[in-house]
Amino acid sequence: MAMNEPQISVQELIAKKSNRGLLAFTEKLIPKILLLIATVSVLTTIGIVFTLIFETVTFFTEVNVFSFLTGTEWYPFANSTPTYGILPLVVGTLKITAIATIVAVPIGIATAIFLSEYASDRVRRFIKPILEVLAGVPTIVYGFFALTFVTPILRSIFPEIAIFNAISPGIVVGIMIIPMIASLSEDAMSSVPNAMRDGAYALGATKLEVAIKIVLPAALSGIVASTVLAISRAIGETMIVAVAAGSTPGFDWDVTGSIQTMTAYIVQVTTGDAGYGTTIYYSIYAVGFTLFLFTLAMNMLAQFISKRFREEY
């Protein structure tokens, strides 16, 4: 300590320091900057909605809204009279989603039951990260897998299946969403308190009975919410269907032939040369808007279920 420093009290030091304008200014400025950054996510949503609505309205100045919503023929590339009826694309999307759901829900929930009720801690810690790898595989890789592996296998068993079909990408989309259902459902089951399991064991229940009659009903809202969320992912999945499902929109329930989904149509148009400002160019926004509404409805349903029916222990 230098003894010849001018003597000032601690109080004076504090007063001097906190009066420094810059510091006070930063303290006031930072939250405002951060708030601005936080609004970027809101702006993104507004951007998405605004873009979709704006371009869709332009599309509807050229195409009748009613025939778009109820039309069963989607031939935008027809030279003489292009038709824009969204139903074939919706049906294509639903086919893929239905197949994926049939594959993913039983396997996903069974996996969740095994991990949360039967598996030891060591097994769980080994398997969960591997399942997470499955969730992290890029969808273009899954698309390649569907086209070059799953489709040939299916065709060797059922020769009538076309090269581009709904079954193969449907199954692979299902595989893609298994980890999502398994992991979220497992979280829901793990949060069921052990006291409830012990109660059932004390009455002589087997592990299976505990899992099916105690844990599953108690965790049901979480499981349903995870399933709805996974289905929403399947609706919006793009690359797997763009690679393996073909590009023939049809208004039927055949799953062995080439189909087209909403997402695959957007990819088809944007990889081709649909000129800016043409009706086809605007049609991708109308299709995108329909897709957005579908997934938004599913996501909100999932949020509603997990909030409304969540059991607190």
Binding site: I14, L23, E27, I30, P31, L34, L35, I37, A38, T39, S41, V42, T44, T45, G47, I48, T51, L52, E55, I107, A110, T111, F114, Y118, A119, I127, I130, L131, V133, L134, G136, V137, P138, I140, V141, F144, T148, F149, A182, T206, K207, L208, E209, L229, R233, I235, G236, T238, M239, A242, V243, T263, I266, V267, T270, Y285, G288, F292, L296, N299
Partner: protein
């Protein structure tokens, strides 16, 4: 007097136990299904693509001849893309997380931001492509550039980074903040010097996982109109470029089957990148994450 028919109970218990054993087998089989698919997928791709994977594969451009095809432009494009996505998405994501966890009051607007973020996480990536095409490529006239694609991709992974950073910041115990306030530090000083350093491992882990998702994303790039065959490497963020998943998509679509083997080689590189990034994330999590 006999209250319990032991034979009947034993018989019933036996069927119940058998059921339990059988169903346990079924659940285990379902669990192994995912693992088996992953093993087949990796095995198939490695055996299919390894013969095309050579040093030349990394130093050649795309070609009409499968044997001469390479990923020089694609891999550089992907790296440049990440150089835009990483800073932009982390700046926006961490900033939002700090605001929500440290500053935001519990009111309707804060709640609105939170609901909005979880809804944004559920928007299909192809729709983000439409956003990027309209806003960045056309409206701001950035063209089909690294910057336009990078900004689109940043917005796509923003929700993941926000949620991961929020969890990391929330995990910092309040005692640390209170200690800092007690020393006379202001709120921002506390955040900058106490909260952020303590939560950086969690933030980095989440961000690396989000970035590895962005490296594999194809749909938004397709919609923006990123080309697949380029004979040059990007020289600035305004350059046109191509990316690894786009190159794989192009090869997958080609009718010649030999191109599928080239696609498999490209997938090996892409998966290799992802595994490296995931390993780094796991390493950071295990090494630096403190438990309070």
């Amino acid at each position: 007097m006999k209250y319990v028919n032991h034979e009947e109970v034993a018989a019933k218990t036996k069927t119940r136990l058998t059921k339990n054993t059988i169903l346990k087998g079924v659940f285990a089989a379902a669990t192994s299904f995912g693992l088996i698919v992953l093993a087949i997928l990796l095995y198939r791709i490695v055996t299919q693509g390894s013969e095309y994977l050579s040093f030349d594969f990394f130093t050649s451009f795309a070609s009409r001849i499968p044997e001469n095809s390479g990923i020089k432009a694609a891999i550089q494009g992907s790296i440049y893309l990440m150089l835009v996505v990483a800073p932009v998405s982390m700046f926006l994501g961490v900033g939002t997380a700090i605001y929500l966890e440290e500053y935001a009051k519990k009111n309707k607007f804060t709640n609105f931001i939170k609901v909005n973020i979880s809804n944004l996480a559920g928007v299909p990536s192809v729709v983000f492509g439409l956003l990027g095409l309209t806003i960045f490529v056309r409206f701001f006239d950035l063209g089909i550039s690294i910057l336009a694609a990078g900004l689109t991709m940043s917005l796509l992974i923003l929700p993941i980074i926000i949620v991961a950073s929020q969890e990391a910041i929330r995990a910092v115990p309040n005692e640390l903040r209170e200690a800092s306030f007690a020393m006379g530090a202001t709120r921002w000083q506390t955040i900058l010097r106490v909260v952020l350093p303590a939560s950086i491992p969690g933030i980095l882990t989440g961000s690396i996982l989000a970035l590895s998702r962005a490296i594999g994303e194809t749909a938004p790039l397709v919609v923006i109109g990123i080309p697949t065959i380029l004979m040059f490497t990007p020289d600035s963020i305004m350059s046109t470029f191509t990316a690894l998943p786009m190159q794989i998509f192009d090869w997958t679509k080609r009718p010649q089957v030999t191109f599928h083997d080239v696609a498999a080689a490209g997938i090996i590189v892409l998966m290799g990148l992802l595994i490296i990034m995931n390993s780094i994330a796991v390493f950071i999590r295990n090494k630096y994450q403190k438990r309070y």
